[in-house]
Assembly symmetry: C2
Homo-oligomer: 432 residues x 2
Amino acid sequence: MNTPKPVSLNLNVRGMGLSATLGINERCRELRDQGRTVYNLGLGQSPFPVPHSVVEALRLAAPEKDYLPVRGLPALREAVAAFHRKHDQIEAHPDGVLIGPGSKELMFLLQLVYYGEIIVTTPCWVSYLPQARIIGRTVSQLAANHEQQWKITAPQLLWALDMVQDDYRPRLLVLNYPGNPSGQTYSADELEELAEIARRFEIVILSDEIYGQLHHQGQHVSIARFYPEGTIISSGLSKWCGAGGWRLGTFCFPPNLYWLLDAMASVASETYTSVCAPIQYAAVHAFRREVTLERYLWHARRILAALGREGAEMLNRAGVRVHPPIGGFYLYLDFSPLSARLAERGIEDSSTLCSHLLDETGVAILPGEAFAQPPSELTARLAYVDFDGARALAASENIPLHEDLPADFTRQWCERTLHGMERIAEWASAEA
Amino acid sequence: MNTPKPVSLNLNVRGMGLSATLGINERCRELRDQGRTVYNLGLGQSPFPVPHSVVEALRLAAPEKDYLPVRGLPALREAVAAFHRKHDQIEAHPDGVLIGPGSKELMFLLQLVYYGEIIVTTPCWVSYLPQARIIGRTVSQLAANHEQQWKITAPQLLWALDMVQDDYRPRLLVLNYPGNPSGQTYSADELEELAEIARRFEIVILSDEIYGQLHHQGQHVSIARFYPEGTIISSGLSKWCGAGGWRLGTFCFPPNLYWLLDAMASVASETYTSVCAPIQYAAVHAFRREVTLERYLWHARRILAALGREGAEMLNRAGVRVHPPIGGFYLYLDFSPLSARLAERGIEDSSTLCSHLLDETGVAILPGEAFAQPPSELTARLAYVDFDGARALAASENIPLHEDLPADFTRQWCERTLHGMERIAEWASAEA
């Protein structure tokens, strides 16, 4: 028995690397350790600290040690339901809320328990497809493009659903808006049109609204308003509350879909059990959204809006196509106008594009390929969050919220990110 | 399209309830709400508070908001490796440590990524088999019994492995000691014998030592000492640190098995991402085990030992067969000596036994069936943790650690649990 035993791994898992966003983070750390100046515009983490009152709530709850109910602390489920009732104008009920260790884990559980076709719109968030692969499932894709602002259209959805001669086909559509990687979002009219088609085919919608509260004008609308009976809203603390590392996500189900909630809770009880107790107590405070939290959010939005607009303008001038962002903190760059020149340098896919960029400018951004785009499409996601959010917030607080930020605000407080964007713009101009 | 669409659930998940331990907890809450006196000896949660210094460490770390590396905070991986080097006399390295949101989640990931036969010894912890079912796998079982103290023997293991004519069969053996539900543990000699067989067949051992630090004499030995190259040690904060609700588990791999660690980290990056950052910082402190923590542990062990011994004696006198516990906080009761009388009352399986007990005595314990025992075996697990651990600890601290606790200590400080055990003893005596 001296021959080494062959490695015994599930084929669905074999050969997988790290999630692309987490991978880029670890690569930047390595380059920095080598003494290089690196602009990490790869990882999509909120630049802002967790609001002080929420941190204090965690400190108060630190001794909480009991296993909490699988579905979540009742007070938190109530706070989350109230949050959705208020912000989304739906009849959310605490019984319909499920708390998980990040909405990513909840999406995995949903894919695991659901039996039916799963449809995602592309470009899409990095983890939907690898999750399906782990479970051993294929996913249908609905592709959007720059011209349609990386959003699917109602006729496109209708065509995709209608094409299959199977009226009762169980289907789950994943929509994410404001979008990662797009930074774009659907208007209320667009959502209403999509909702009508969804209702006609009785599909389930997983509405990933993790960036909803970071709509730059505070005008996020959920598709649940138009299709409450078939929509699950996904949210959490990671983005609007700056608490990505705390790992708390929420799903809100309508009574029609409690069978999915029940199945997910069963699997949760055999896997993560329940979410960290002290974090759940602190989250009650966060979801109640008292006035200091609202103020924090408006400052965060104002900073993100200014920086995103400035970056988009700068990059457009340099020949990169990009829509100014409407929510969140991403710019989705399309380098195709430069394709001829890039091809001369051997840059013909998004991964090569991004490694050239990192080597030549020190700026890390993620290739479109990570978001399920065809490798040859020269797109990439820029997360404009590499600045000290606490300092920027403090500076913004000196300027009344009804005023615009002064023109030099981003130069003064978000300099690192601005530098990174300028380096890309210079690089692109040289190619043009 | 007015016919309701049939529910679309993964068949592996359909019809699953809550994990049995969590289910009993929720049932007890209901009965209490109805005004009944309930002794919850069902859920296996440490009765002791999280040590003060660990709670303080969490408070200090409350503002930590970044996504931490998937495998865990480097300082924590170092602390966990150092912990195993010191306690288990193995060459644990931080590169071999994986941090997860509870060891339950890590076990699920291990079952998910591993391709090969999984063998568990029964009676076993409630979640191994449901996890396999969710993934769509079957698990082989090796049954122990009361006479062999609910432990498998080396000849038994040899027979099971040798029976299959497949020398290179990939196999993963799950061992759990001190055992849940048994309260028993393997001696160093027994582990050495099992290790030798494991080495001969090159099997992977998942050694679930979550109760290791609650060995009542502080004399826990890991099988990794005898089979380091093939053993993964599972541990966490839930039991010895009283922090079940904090959700932090650890796996420690030898270099030989880094391929399993790598695959688990890939899946982790697409599911839970990383463990709650503030909790990881606090855990560094816990795993460093400074002197106040050692003291806390010795008091906890002394109380658990006294109460377990007393309960076992009392129940044995009442005609229930039970071994005095060696670690953890469980008594595994065997009512078979009373089977004739119980049968007259229609009690012929462990679930009926436990619901009669709950109705007639107000004491909740878990049926052997939940631990993968044949339904007709009249066994049940009693968790002797329904008392105020903080008060009991404070009282124990007044008595020097080298002395025994006074005879009336448990009566004074663990009264609720003692009452529960007395009620079962009375009930059993009436049946005898």
